[in-house]
Subunit: 422 residues, 2 copies
């Protein structure tokens, strides 16, 4: 906001065109801030900051593509996890035939991926109405060579989407969402409503039937492989098979069956129902996914933090990563052990894994974390360490930039331009 805008607060006078331009430019300038130079040492970075180990990121990307490729199922990585058009470009530049495009979860993410991410095939995995539906339709109209899909779960939703699409002169692919057991959005599973909504899509002037989405976020984190396999079978696999039967009975065939995530994609492949999977967290991993059995990926995401207060008598260290740098809703972070991608940045390098695993973190407020059980002399004031977040994409959402680190050097910076709102 400009000072002119501040002055306007007392009245409702319309802003002039010049005022709007000044306001827009001011907002641009307001986004500029000091960033480390690429090529600088991690030890020179400010804290708290968000890091990705590039060797681990590369390994995770490679592992996923190698696992998916032989199955014939398509990979559509979910950009809600990384929220960066630059990382989308990085991903797509390495992708092969196994990758069909990207998922996003918000219109703001869609805008970043279509305008700057170079994505030609995008699926927004949520229902939209009103201004949000209009904005997606306008984005699709502005990117006529891109395929843009979005979910619907009611006749009213189809109508809202169709109206927005007609008005914008856009073509949208509508996917009928089937509730696979999460009890969130989606038509009720095993209900004939799926066919009614699909018919409505078929008959709408500016929509095509993209397919079905059957996703269950809750079962991604079922710990044991056997229980997770059973949950896939009883949830999304069963719901998808029944929905396809109901559509076939109406003479409708969904071209795409999409769903799955980092926790279940291998089991989704085995179940043989989905034609594409939507994992996102595999690129970063986190404390929650790290507790699943049979994990295939490395921890690559870390929050870099500084010890700002010490109490040797009680083994307490206060770090500058609290709830504003570190999503805590899914639990406390853990202290990262020495990691090749990050280089040596902490006095923890000399401690045993057992001692490090014993260090606790508790929330000390928005900008403070309190470590307990720190051995005497370890982590003096001013030393840095890395924390493993409990939930990767909520943590990514708290930051403006992701520092890509290799061997202790900030090699690249991914602006998290799809985070936040507007």
């Amino acid at each position: 906001m400009t000072m002119a805008a501040v002055g306007r607060l007392g009245s409702l006078a319309s802003p002039s065109p010049l005022g709007r331009l000044v306001s827009r430019l001011t907002r641009m300038v307001a986004c500029i801030s000091t960033l480390p130079s690429t090529g600088s040492l991690l030890s020179a970075a400010y804290t708290p900051s968000l890091l990705v180990s590039l060797p681990s990121l590369e390994a995770n990307d490679r592992t996923m593509r190698e696992r998916i490729a032989p199955s014939g199922v398509k990979l559509r990585p979910h950009a809600k996890a990384f929220k960066s058009s630059a990382l989308a470009r990085w991903l797509l530049a390495r992708a092969g035939d196994e990758t069909v495009g990207l998922c996003v979860q918000t219109v703001h993410e869609a805008e970043a991926m279509l305008s700057r991410g170079g994505v030609a095939n995008l699926l927004l995995t949520n229902e939209l109405y009103g201004p949000n539906a209009r904005r997606l339709a306008e984005l699709a109209a502005a990117h006529p060579t891109a395929t843009v899909g979005v979910l619907v779960d009611s006749v009213r939703g189809v109508q809202a989407l169709s109206d927005a699409s007609v008005k914008a002169g856009a073509a949208l692919a509508a996917y009928v969402e089937v509730d696979a057991g999460q009890n969130r959005c989606g038509v009720r599973r095993e209900s004939e409503e799926v066919a009614r909504v699909a018919r409505e899509v078929r008959d709408a002037p500016a929509l095509e039937l993209g397919g079905l989405q059957v996703y269950h976020g809750g079962i991604q984190h079922v710990r044991s492989s056997a229980s997770r396999r059973a949950a896939v079978e009883a949830g999304p696999a069963r719901a998808a098979r029944r929905a396809v039967e109901l559509l076939h009975a109406e003479g409708l065939a969904p071209p795409v069956l999409t769903g799955g995530g980092t926790g279940t994609f291998m089991l989704d492949l085995s179940a043989g129902v989905l034609t594409e999977v939507q994992p996102g967290s595999y690129l970063f991993m986190d404390g929650d996914y790290g507790q699943n059995e049979d994990r295939l990926f490395e921890q690559s995401l870390f929050v870099h933090t500084t010890v700002i207060s010490v109490d040797e008598a009680t083994g307490k260290r206060v770090v500058d990563a609290g709830a504003k740098a570190m999503d805590l809703l899914c639990g406390a972070p853990t202290v990262a052990r020495h990691h090749l991608g990050l280089g040596s940045t902490s006095t923890l390098d000399n401690l045993s894994e057992e001692i490090i695993a014993n260090i606790t973190y508790k929330n000390g407020g928005d900008e403070h974390g309190i470590l307990g059980n720190v051995p005497p002399g370890a982590l003096p004031a001013g030393s840095t360490l890395q924390l493993v977040p409990s939930h990767c994409d909520a943590c990514v959402n708290l930051h403006s930039h992701l520092l890509g680190v290799r061997n202790g050097v900030v090699e690249t910076i991914f602006p998290l331009d799809a985070r936040g709102f507007y």
Copy 2:
């Protein structure tokens, strides 16, 4: 990050000056996104988005200044709550002699407030080391007419700050933090350490002794007024009095005693110890502060959200405000009743307060909230409503922009340029 930077990921070649410029420009452009025009109706705004009712914001600002002015104690509003240089300008343009400057909590906030907020007197209420301390010192050197303060709680901290200050050619005011009972940062209360650290500040080449900070975040939310008054007396008031005695015994007098927040500032005035108070949440309020007795301020902060899925049979509504739009660590949001500043935007306007109060919110994931107990026919798919966040400044930190609304019109937009990191 540019495509050139993406291409560089495989190697450690240093970026060229041109490459750095392109990278910087790309990061600027990446910040541009679609915003509503000022003067447009709230009903045209995308969701989820963060709203402030301007009439309530203005009332809260006025109430605080009126309460503080007669006491002679200074007001130093805490910008960690609002994270916007534009809102800082708004605040300072209205302030009188009662307002001495602003507080911030991070170096990123300090940069926004010094470079764009027009703040001449800034106190960073945290301890800094390493690159963070260097950055604050460089900011102070770049703004030689501004007074810049920061906290210390150890001899090591004083040395780190003094080194950074000397190197940058800056003058910093160091405030000794006394732990008032929160068991976080600060020298132990009633310990002679306060005098030792203060002497170290006095003797450091590039520092001056700004004063003492005694703040206890935990007691801001003690519900009953009597218990909160007792907590102030037993905590910060007692700790501050003893610390002043210990300094006096050393021939040191702290010029400023700073602390307090929205929950305790009236009690801090009564206790008669502090020379300035640091409230921030009073501008917005939230569900947590709303439960305190004797609150003086109006709820002005809301998250604007759309109903995207409906189940009339169970009274369920899914809204597009989940954990990425709505900090949930301090509890669930509540549904806002009709609010004059926002105008009429929802079918809730026709429901009784009792029915609205009975609607529940539970977390449905990062981008979904699930409302329960919604009466039949209310809140159809596509309708909008507002939620009251449980914790205001963690919620503000999730958003890029704050829409200032009056009578249902987006009158101004405050970019939240001090949120995120870097």
